[in-house]
């Protein structure tokens, strides 16, 4: 056995013995992908605590850098020009978006990023399909199935996310848009997509089939998100997040790339967990969010019956007087906080109250806002310590000992009707704000929340309504408090 033979057998042992085509370099590249995957997992693990989270995110990004660098030395790459142009253009846009974005606009940015990931998967799988048929080699069954899955999930993610982005940024109406016979249309489209996938597997050389599949999936993505209204957005965003991961994993099967498969499935799992948490927080099944529509029921009490003569409106001065006598105040923010961008005023109010030796905490409902954790990010931006942000179970045990609850732009998540047996929000876990001594509700009007039902909380004896824009109302309270002290 000469030296070359020995080397050859060593490389073969390092590489995959089944394929026999893997050389030493390929093995090294795959090991590097493994390192990247471990870094991704460590990154996710870092997110288990706010203090370790910055480092976790760093580890994740180092993992990505390693993955990109080892890909660049791949022997299949013969021309770097277009890669560099793509990296430069994409990198600049990414930096610009990340630096410029307002924290209140985070949901639409995440929606947009989701879509781009899905779109990239569609194109990579398409490219792989073209390449596989060029040499006249018959592509394997695995490649065809994976390519179809990648195109299907990727296109649904891309277009679904773009619609979600439009809704969240106000470019499309955020209320539910309902087409007649939409379920039928969706079923027909889904069947058509499956038919196309089968055709791709049977005849890989016909590229047109792939693009038709992508087209159908795109329409499906649009139609799936269009009927979903504003307050259900946290579920949709989480689900699309999961899809973007699954699309990447499918692309990993197309390219036989373990790095893609591991990273993609991690993200897929993450999105699924968030989707489940959001559904539980609304006491609705995923199918109900996607296919059902919330609406007031026949025979339910109308807004007039509930509100007539019972709603008490208040002023900033009166609220300030009530607050002065309080020992414990809980602030419950909702989407209205994001709309009025009043997180800094909330912080000022908290500081004022704490200077008066009043205990202040925040009640965060899991689906408050338009994406998971939306409120937490806004309050963190205003330097409110995360220890003060309490989740549903924790804060609900304290409302009985709370003097004043200030509700800013929240409605359905504080509606006591959720405790009833029937109704559109029956069984949804809510913040038990009605157990506190006084409720101050800052809201622009008595208009119903997303569930479309009146809120008996607003008519309770212990509730005072402070009508107006969140920021203005908070400023009134702050001014009145400052004058009094």
């Amino acid at each position: 056995m000469n030296f070359q033979n020995i080397l050859h057998s060593v490389f073969a042992a390092v590489g995959q013995s089944t394929s026999g085509t893997m050389d030493f370099r390929t093995s090294m590249v795959n090991l590097a992908y493994l390192v990247a995957a471990v870094l991704f997992i460590m990154g996710f693990k870092g997110l288990s605590h706010p203090r370790k989270a910055v480092r976790g995110n760093m580890l994740g990004s180092i993992g990505m850098l390693i993955a990109v660098l080892v890909t660049l030395i791949n022997k299949d790459i013969i021309d770097y020009r277009w890669i560099m142009i793509g990296l430069a253009v994409g990198g600049s846009i990414g930096v610009l978006l990340a630096v410029k974005i307002e924290m209140t606009s985070m949901p639409e940015l995440v929606g947009l990023f989701n879509g781009l990931g899905g779109g990239a998967s569609v194109m990579v799988a398409g490219g792989a399909l073209i390449e596989s048929t060029i040499g006249g080699v018959n592509p394997t069954m695995q490649l065809m199935v994976a390519t179809s899955a990648s195109g299907l999930i990727g296109a649904i993610t891309l277009w679904g996310s773009l619609v979600a982005f439009g809704k969240l940024s106000g470019k499309i109406t955020s209320s539910a848009i309902l087409l007649p016979a939409r379920h039928l249309i969706n079923i027909v489209l889904a069947l058509a997509a499956i038919t196309m996938a089968v055709m791709i597997v049977q005849d890989p050389t016909n590229m047109m089939n792939y693009w038709i599949l992508v087209g159908i999936a795109s329409v499906l993505g649009i139609l799936a998100v269009i009927p979903i209204g504003g307050a259900d957005m946290p579920v949709v965003i989480s689900l699309l997040n999961s899809y973007s991961g699954l699309a990447a994993a499918a692309t990993g099967f197309v390219l036989s790339n373990t790095g893609l498969i591991i990273a993609g499935s991690l993200v897929g799992a993450s999105g699924l967990i968030l989707t489940k948490i959001m559904c539980v927080a609304m006491n609705r099944s995923l199918a109900n969010v996607i296919f059902g529509v919330l609406g007031a029921e026949e025979g339910a009490a109308t807004a007039d019956e509930i509100y007539a003569g019972k709603v008490k409106s208040t002023s900033g001065d009166e609220v300030a007087m009530i607050l002065e006598d309080a020992q414990r105040v809980v602030i419950a923010p909702g989407y209205g906080l994001a709309v009025s961008q009043s997180q800094h005023q909330v912080r000022d109010l908290m500081n004022l109250l704490e200077a008066m030796d009043i205990e202040v905490e925040f009640a965060i409902h899991p689906v408050a806002g338009r994406m998971p954790g939306h409120m937490n990010v806004l309050l963190a931006e205003a330097d409110i310590p995360y220890e003060k942000l309490k989740d549903l179970e924790e804060i609900n045990t304290t409302f009985a000992e709370t003097d004043v609850v200030i509700i800013i732009g929240a409605n359905d998540v504080v509606n006591p009707d959720a405790r009833k047996e029937t109704g559109p929000i029956a069984g949804m876990p809510i913040l038990d704000v009605d157990k506190a001594r006084t409720c101050i509700v800052i809201k622009r009007s008595l208009s119903p929340g997303f569930a479309g039902i009146p809120n008996p909380l607003f008519a309770m004896d212990s509730t005072l309504m402070l009508f107006g824009d969140g920021k203005k109302a908070l400023l009134e309270i702050i001014t009145a408090l400052k004058e009094a002290s």
Binding site: I41, D79, I93, M106, F113, G119, V124, N241, S244, A248
Partner: protein, 96 residues
Amino acid sequence: MLDIVTLITIFVLAIYVGFEVITKVPPTLHTPLMSGSNAISGVTIIGAILSAGSHQDPTLTTWLGVTAVIFATINVVGGFMVTHRMLKMFSKGKKR
């Protein structure tokens, strides 16, 4: 090409690891979790790079690849940076 069974094994195990690790993320960090995982799903950039660099004279594959590189890079760079921005706010809140 790797054995399909090997790939499926990796896929299933990675999903389990994901479930285990991500269940431990507190609700307060759910938005950074989304944007961070978003950045990681931009890992398609690997495939995009291979696609964009596979030909000396640009073909349809090259163009698909370049567009995919742009999309995925926005996703990766923007995702990690905006996550970093958010997480810095959380750790800043701690010191007060």
